[in-house]
């Protein structure tokens, strides 16, 4: 945990410095009609850098050598994160509904080891229900791909 704590603190300090730098660019003083745009973020950045330095100092002195994540737990977390990332990557190309169908099907088949029949039934039903609720019922358009274009949506 110590390494993770220190890393996070330093990332946040870097972020804070970036905020301070950008605020100085647009001005942190008194404009013609009140404080300039950079005033509020500047002080937020200053306090954040200060607080993160305290956190980093504490973490530096701590003896918590436990790893951020148990070695055995990395796999289940990645098994969620990687397919989810693939799903988001596929969405702009295939449209949300097709991506959802493939994502659900792939996840059920390779991680859940369900039978092909239930895989197809569930993944198609999920997308069909989502499509009906959002496109037809609530009229909220989702990203669409070649399949929807083919059917005229």
């Amino acid at each position: 945990m110590r390494a993770a704590d220190l890393t996070t603190a330093f990332v946040l300090i870097a972020g804070g410095v970036l905020v301070i730098w950008d605020s100085l660019r647009i001005g942190i003083g008194w404009g013609t009609d009140g404080p300039k745009s950079g005033f509020f973020p500047f002080w937020l950045g200053v306090i954040m850098v200060g607080a993160c330095l305290v956190i980093a100092a504490k973490a530096f002195r701590s003896a918590d050598r436990a790893p951020f994540i148990r070695p055995g737990a990395i796999e289940p977390v990645l098994k969620v994160l990687l397919p989810a990332t693939a799903f988001v990557l596929a969405t702009p190309w295939l449209g949300l509904y097709v991506a959802t169908t493939l994502y659900t099907a792939a996840y059920m088949r390779w991680i859940g080891r369900h039978s092909w029949l239930s895989v197809i039934v569930v993944s198609v039903t999920v997308s069909a229900v989502t499509f009906y609720v959002f496109e037809i019922w609530f009229l909220v358009p989702m990203p669409k791909g070649p399949l929807e274009t083919y059917f005229g949506y």
Partner: protein, 506 residues
């Protein structure tokens, strides 16, 4: 003046259309509360974009009913599966799950739902009485007073939050900084965009909530390797009636928990500490405290009553001052702004049908909620028996749909995923998420209040201390900020170590 306004509210809440929405809301909310990774806050966030075209009153009725449903859903998973769906139902698992394992699941659920009902009803009655008075006072507030209240809200996270105070402070600052990204509407300057046009519109709090709470929670759940091995509950009208017959015996616990809940609840983040506090009080005053943790029904009554009294009380600062007391309330407040309503005391004057419709819907939503969960518990519990290989992609894609529908931008789905990873890391490292979300929602309001105050005072920060009301509030806020630094010193002075219960935070 209270009664006829409340009647006006009931006229709104009892319209068939709104009653129907309340039923839908409670049903959806209960499902959301039962599902791991989908709590009240992101359930409301996902549905919020769908309400943009609705009447504000109907929209808020749908969302508050959803919130009630999520609370009930949390009780179901805590008792039957030992999985607290929400942080304030952690204390419910202490006795609820043992009861379910002893074959008393039906009794535990009935007690939990009834207690929730009592707690929520108590707080809504107090709100009916006090909200108009508080709004009347708040009408006299100027920008310095509003900024002082914001300061008080965030100081209580740092001073009373119970976690690492420095990390709470950093979470708040991250929220405010994220709120500042994009176009500054006052001066027209672009802030913190570094030339990226995608950053011009800033970060949407809905996307942040869906990512931080939704995706982050699934990652955490997977890491802990949850297995949904649930106890089953036999619910029959006979069990319900028999349990109801025993409950009046615990009237002392009910009353005590109601007050603890309400008192803790109108301060931000109050529901979780309220439930723990109420549980430990009940244990201390019980005739046979050794039975607590073994499946004592009083151990279910106490935290559930307090959590729901607190959940109801968080409405008070939200509608009177425009300060949400919980992440869910923060999302609803964001909704108010999107629907074109200005949160704060003026709502009582300008939109009485909205405010009183909201208050009245708390009464109706509660009654509908209790009736629905009592009737359909087995159905809701069956959701958790759906294999996780179906649930996980389902939850992720629902979250993606929610994030996309806010602005119709693909980049928001990416933000959601990134926020998910951040939420996961922050939770493991003990950075609280609730203050971050609150700061993100309140950022612009707080900054405007600060700016206007400084314009009034020609740039002097002393304005916050010189005006009597804002002076008093600021003083308390400064005390809370200083509290973590003073406490070790105070403790040494008393010579007694104080053990703090640190609940897991969502």
């Amino acid at each position: 003046m209270g009664i006829e306004n409340l009647l006006l509210g009931f006229q709104v809440a009892l319209q068939p259309h709104n009653l129907f929405l309340a039923v839908i809301g409670v049903g959806l909310g209960t499902i959301i509360g039962v599902l791991p990774g989908l709590g009240g806050a992101n359930g409301v966030a996902i549905l919020l974009p769908l309400t943009f075209s609705m009447q504000p009153t109907s929209a808020i009725i749908l969302l508050t009913s959803l919130y009630w449903g999520a609370l009930f859903g949390g009780a179901i998973t805590s008792i039957l599966f030992n999985i607290p769906g929400e942080p304030w139902s952690v204390a419910t698992t202490f006795d609820g799950y043992p009861m379910a394992r002893n074959g008393q699941g039906g009794q535990a659920l009935t007690a939990a739902f009834t207690s929730s009902f009592v707690g929520a009803l108590f707080s809504v009655v107090l709100i009916t009485l006090f909200a108009p008075l508080l709004a009347e006072v708040a009408l006299k507030f100027g920008p310095p007073e509003f900024f002082a209240i914001q300061l008080l809200t965030f100081s209580s996270f740092v001073g009373l939050g119970g976690g690492n105070p420095m990390k709470s402070l950093v979470s708040i600052l991250i929220g405010f900084i994220m709120a500042a990204v994009g176009l500054d509407i006052v001066t027209g300057a672009l802030r913190l965009t570094f030339g990226f046009t995608d950053l011009m519109k800033g970060f949407d709090f809905i996307v942040a909530v869906i990512g931080l709470f939704g995706i982050g929670e699934i990652l955490l759940t997977m890491e802990e390797g949850l297995s949904f091995k649930g106890a089953s509950a036999k619910m029959s009208p006979r069990v319900v009636l028999e349990t109801w017959r025993t409950l009046p015996r615990y009237w002392r616990t009910f009353v005590r928990s109601c007050f603890i809940g309400f008192w803790m609840g109108f301060k931000p983040g109050g529901a979780t500490p309220a439930s723990f506090m109420s549980y430990s009080f009940a244990k201390r005053f019980a005739r046979n405290p050794e039975r607590f943790g073994q499946g004592d029904i009083e151990g279910v009554v106490a935290p559930e009553t307090a959590a729901h009294a607190a959940g109801g009380a968080s409405l008070l600062p939200m509608i009177t001052l425009g300060i949400p007391g919980s992440p869910t309330a923060a999302v609803m407040l964001g909704g108010l702004i999107i629907w074109g309503l200005q949160p704060g005391p003026m709502l009582f004057k300008e939109k009485p049908e909205f405010v009183w419709g909201l208050i009245a819907s708390r009464y109706t939503g509660n009654v509908i909620g209790v009736a629905m969960v009592l009737a359909f518990v087995p159905l809701f519990a069956a959701i958790l028996r759906v294999p996780f290989a179906i649930l996980t992609p389902l939850i992720v894609s629902v979250c993606a749909v929610g994030a996309y529908s806010v602005n119709g931008r693909m980049i928001d789905i990416w933000y959601m995923l990134i926020f998910g990873v951040i939420g996961y890391a922050f939770k493991k490292l003990d950075y609280p998420l609730a203050p971050l979300v609150l700061a993100l929602v309140l950022g612009d309001l707080a900054e405007n209040a600060l700016r206007q105050s400084l314009i009034m005072s020609q740039g002097s920060l002393l304005i916050f201390l010189e005006r009597p009301i804002s002076g008093a509030i600021t003083a308390v806020a400064l005390f809370f900020f200083a509290l973590p630094a003073i406490t070790p010193w105070l403790r040494r002075l008393r010579g007694a170590p104080v053990a703090a219960v640190k609940p897991r935070e969502t």
